[in-house]
């Protein structure tokens, strides 16, 4: 990650009517990565996103998009951004195609060919001439992404991109976002309250609470290097507990006819080998990854997450 950041958020503070909504938030997003923006309701996720795209003013600090300040050079900064803020709201009485024509006219160098290309990309070819009011939410979401990608931006900002999509749609969206980051080298910022969703989609996750950035974490680090809870379904239980006694940091516990203990990833096969050697019957071994949810709850002190 030695690349020049695509988005730099520098000591950004937002005060609305004397209340500090965002307090000196600092982070950078790099090309080719998906950055997840996480936080309970009212933490300031949407406010931060609105400041990045220039919908809200910045009380103090600055936001740079490819080195252009959103405060002083709005046009140059917005050239690099494609965004959907909250819902993909389009002109419902216009066709999907005319909506794209509308946004193409607002950008430089978007010709008819590019519009067709983007339609193909999001798979709306068959319905593009229908009015948007006849679209399903998933189709509106896709049209929203099409308008965000029209002018070939370097930064894609998606506020709650999987909101209201069915499981297949969520999967497709996830695939799509990963593809854009990995193949096209876009920097993608997504916000979501679906933690498990974020874990599958993002490279790094920043947790925001009460206007403060609590920490930015690498997703992989979080799941592979920490210890995890492992449960063994074995017979006989007591004997197995003795066999496994000197593994892991804590003593094995017997609960619900299983042995539960904390192990690192590498220790799991070793434990299985030991059990097999002692002729203990193994019916199942499950490793419970410490989910992002747990980490999140730890970070935010377990306060309401919606």
């Amino acid at each position: 990650m030695q690349k020049q950041p695509a988005v730099e958020i520098k000591q950004v503070t937002k005060v609305i009517r004397g209340r500090k909504i965002i307090d000196r938030v600092n982070f950078s997003i790099y090309p080719g990565e998906v950055f997840g923006f996480l936080g309970p309701n009212g933490a300031g996720k949407t406010t931060t996103i609105r400041m990045i795209v220039g919908l809200m003013g910045i009380t103090d600090g600055d936001i740079l998009i490819k080195g252009n300040s959103i405060k002083t050079s709005h046009g140059a900064a917005m050239k690099h951004i494609g965004a959907i803020v909250e819902n993909p709201e389009m002109y419902k009485y216009l066709s999907g195609y005319l909506n794209l024509v509308h946004f193409a006219r607002m950008s430089d160098g978007v010709d008819k060919k590019r519009i067709d290309e983007v339609i193909e990309l999001v798979g709306l070819k068959n319905r593009i001439n229908d009015k948007v009011k006849t679209y399903s939410l998933g189709m509106r979401q896709r049209l929203g992404i099409a308008q965000a990608l029209l002018h070939r931006p370097d930064v894609l900002i998606l506020d709650e991109p999987t909101n209201g999509l069915d499981p297949a749609g969520i999967r497709e969206m996830r695939h799509y976002i990963r593809n854009l980051a990995e193949k096209e080298g876009l920097a993608v910022i997504v916000s979501s309250h679906l933690l498990s969703e974020m874990e599958l989609m993002c490279d790094r996750i920043g947790v925001l609470q009460q206007g403060k950035m609590l920490g930015v974490q690498q997703v992989h680090e979080m799941s592979s290097e920490q210890t995890q809870m492992v449960s063994f379904q074995v017979e006989p239980l007591e004997q197995a507990a003795i066999v496994l006694r000197d593994m892991g940091s804590k003593k094995p516990e017997i609960k619900d006819k299983q042995i539960i203990m904390e192990l690192t990833r590498d220790e799991i096969p070793a434990a299985a080998a030991k059990l097999a050697k002692e002729a203990i019957s193994i019916y199942g071994i499950q490793a419970e990854t410490k989910t992002l949810e747990d980490t999140f709850l730890e970070l935010t002190g377990g306060k309401e997450i919606v």
Partner: protein, 314 residues
């Protein structure tokens, strides 16, 4: 610049792809045809000699004065006008003529033009906030200044289109119903103790021009309220209410000299036409234009400032 034209085209696309805009054109067309049909149906036979009719009219009036039915002073103006028509050989305008139709249509339908344009202008900005599309509109390269300016320019062009449609359509409908002739029809007006005549079609066009100014001011107010309060109903409601009820309010306030500084007392420039009087004594055309210009600049500054500075939370 080409991008600004693109923005104006976008606004036009949004206005003219809406069903409501076409309903307005439909209502206007229906209104114009209905008025023409009624005028043609109820028109009196005018094939007789207008000179004889005019002389008869004068004799009737004089007889009424002799019988003491009316005061001599009350009909003096009418008598002078009729005499002037005879002297100058000006035939009275027939109600079932193209020129008379176009003139009456202008008087009856000018309020509709204000209504239509106020409805369109009052929704231009607030609708984008209401549907959330403002977020897409403002997260592209064009500045907020050019987005708002393109909307105003589009509103101006839409007003021109409505006026051109109204004038053109009424000309065609009037021509079909009453024949394309009588372009030199003159009306006689009693102004400041003098009798003057002017070309009816020309004065109708002049009044359309003056109504355009008035419509534009009400549209600007609707546009400003739509931008500042982001509320379509308020923007349309207020501007239409004022345009309809201000004449009454103006009458009540007319005894106060300061009321001449109220914007709405200055928007109707037809009061300076020959034969008309302004709301407050001593008001002049130049005065009204100056008052309008000052209000216009203030409204524009507040509107643009509000749009460019405020956070978008829609």
């Amino acid at each position: 610049m080409s991008k600004f034209i693109g923005l104006v085209r976008n606004e036009h696309m949004k206005t003219f792809r809406r069903l409501s805009t076409w309903i307005m054109f439909g209502i206007a067309a229906a209104l114009l045809i209905t008025i023409a049909a009624f005028t043609a149906y109820y028109a009196e036979d005018s094939s007789g000699d207008w000179r004889a009719d005019t002389e008869q009219q004068m004799q009737d009036l004089q007889k009424q004065v002799e019988n003491g039915d009316v005061e001599a002073a009350a009909v003096q103006q009418d008598l002078t006008t009729l005499q002037y028509q005879l002297d100058q050989d000006i035939a009275p305008v027939q109600s079932d003529s193209l020129a008379a139709y176009m003139e009456s249509v202008m008087y009856y339908c000018a309020p509709f033009l204000i209504l239509f344009i106020a409805i369109i202008a009052g929704g231009l900005v607030s609708t984008e906030f209401g549907t959330g599309t403002i977020k897409l509109l403002l997260t592209k390269t064009p500045s907020r200044f050019s987005v708002l300016t393109s909307k105003y320019v589009s509103m101006f062009i839409t007003t021109v289109i409505f006026f051109v449609f109204f004038i053109g359509f009424s000309f065609v409908v009037g021509g079909i119903f009453f024949g394309f002739n009588g372009f030199d029809a003159k009306s006689v007006i009693f102004d400041n103790g003098e009798t003057v005549s002017n070309n009816l079609l020309a004065s109708t066009m002049r009044d359309y021009g003056l109504n355009f100014v008035q419509t534009l001011i009400y549209a600007t107010i609707a546009f400003a309220l739509s931008t500042i309060f982001r509320n379509t109903a308020l923007a349309i409601g207020f501007s239409i209410f004022i345009s309809m009820f201000f004449p009454t309010i103006s009458f009540i306030l007319s005894r106060y000299d300061w009321s001449k500084y109220i914007l709405f007392n200055n928007v109707d420039l037809t009061v300076y036409n020959p034969g008309n009087v302004p709301a407050v004594d001593g008001m002049t055309l130049g005065f009204s234009v100056a008052v309008m210009a000052i209000y216009f600049v203030i409204i524009m500054v507040i509107t643009w400032f509000s749009f460019m500075k405020r956070d978008v939370t829609a």
